[in-house]
Symmetry: C2
Subunit: 227 residues, 2 copies
């Protein structure tokens, strides 16, 4: 459902060129739960940003659901992102002046869901990630791990087919992290394709496949048999 | 060197009062390396912010180096913070329009260090945290873990006596995290007092003491014999 063909991303810093991705080839199958791991600076977030159409590759192609995303107009791209993709950012990217529940409702406002249904769904998602009672808090009135969980709830708001999660448990204690991973696995069993970047190797045990990145390349892939 | 006496922090959200800290009593000895662990939302960052004089307690006292910090004028507080304390924030708090090296120099500008000495020290600190070659990158031109390491280098800029680190390795792979912890332990051997909040229980093995927090209280303390 997501295909990368000879994907390159070269950042320019003044006159210097920095190749963050150096020719990535990958096929993610529908319904897979893939973990992407690797050292800090190896290109994981850059790869996820290209899959989420949040950035354009310098060279190569990204194909989502059979559509090459560089061929889409910006409004078609926004619709693809809003309807099919859920994105959990490494730095949460919550809207600071809105409450947790209003943040979770944002994707549903964009897709035209009625206010009453939006509010009920946002309440349900915040309860699922363990934040019942914190709906009215704004991001600066929440702990780091609580903000992260609001970002996860927001990514699930529109029932995405594909969830891209960049370090979704970096600020969570082991119990909260296990709860979030369980939510993701339940989603995956219902058919949601998940690509998760993580530094926590304890969390990748139940993934179908693990992609190990280093210096902008996929160094190795490990298929895991998952019960 | 840091004493907390009956420390309370009650946040007000509209009409609701939320006690994030409910009477913390603690003594951190000079030269100790203390880990603070506990569930997301248990009050760790709130405690560290009070120790760093970044926030005021609702009740109770914080005493640093024998001085009760609530008795200080704001300029004396700023001087204490700049000269004696180093702070690594959970969300990095880097200045977005400045390069990594300019960010690391900020505390030294405040304490009147000459430009040439500042630049040399900042270069050295960025090399120590593994960011040689990335000095000119601005925060949005760095990966999550790289930004975190710039924040650590900045906290060490003024050779602090006390280092308060809130989740310093949340975005780092295990190798980079081990390197950062080693830097902290070397500092501690030189006499720097360190209080580190972390979710990564692999990193607390070599700390002198571990404080377990839950619901705004210290649930237990564990002294560890450290070789
Ligand atoms: N400004 C605020 N207004 C209201 N509530 C707040 C505010 N800041 C923090 N809180 C609440 O206080 C509690 C403790 O927050 P704190 O940030 O200290 O937790 P933490 O232990 O650092 O959590 P984490 O591990 O997720 O970073 C949380 O439940 C949070 O919602
Ligand atoms: N806008 C940019 N301009 C220049 N260089 C960049 C930019 N964004 C990222 N980089 C560089 O590209 C490399 C890959 O960054 P990326 O964020 O993908 O790494 P990562 O694997 O997600 O790391 P982490 O685990 O620390 O989050 C890094 O070395 C970073 O410095
Ligand atoms: Mg990243
Ligand atoms: Mg915190």
């Amino acid at each position: 459902v997501i295909v990368a063909i000879e994907l390159w991303k070269i950042y320019r810093l003044g006159k210097v060129e920095y190749p963050a991705l150096r020719g990535i080839n990958m096929q993610i199958r529908r319904g897979e739960f893939v973990a992407v791991v690797g050292p800090s600076g190896s290109g994981k977030s850059t790869l996820l940003n290209l899959f989420g159409a949040l950035d354009r590759p310098t060279r190569g192609k990204v194909i989502i659901d059979g559509v090459e995303i560089s061929s889409l107009r910006s409004d078609q791209l926004a619709e693809l992102r809003n309807k099919k993709l859920g994105f959990v950012f490494q730095t949460f990217n919550l809207i600071p002046y809105m409450s947790a529940i209003d943040n979770v409702e944002v994707p549903m406002v964009a897709s035209g869901v009625s206010p009453r249904v939006r509010r009920a769904r946002a309440m349900e998602l915040l309860a699922i990630v363990g934040l019942k009672g914190f709906e009215k808090n704004r991001p600066n009135e929440l702990s780091g791990g609580q903000q992260q969980r609001v970002a996860i709830a927001r990514a699930l708001a529109n029932d995405p087919q594909i969830l891209l999660a960049d370090e979704p448990t970096g600020n969570l204690d082991s119990k909260s992290a296990a709860e979030v991973i369980e939510v993701l696995h339940n989603l995956n069993k219902k058919g949601v394709t998940i690509i998760m970047v993580t530094h926590n190797l304890n969390l990748i045990r139940h993934c179908h496949r693990v992609l190990w990145m280093k210096d902008g390349l996929v160094e190795k892939e490990v298929e895991q048999s998952v019960t």
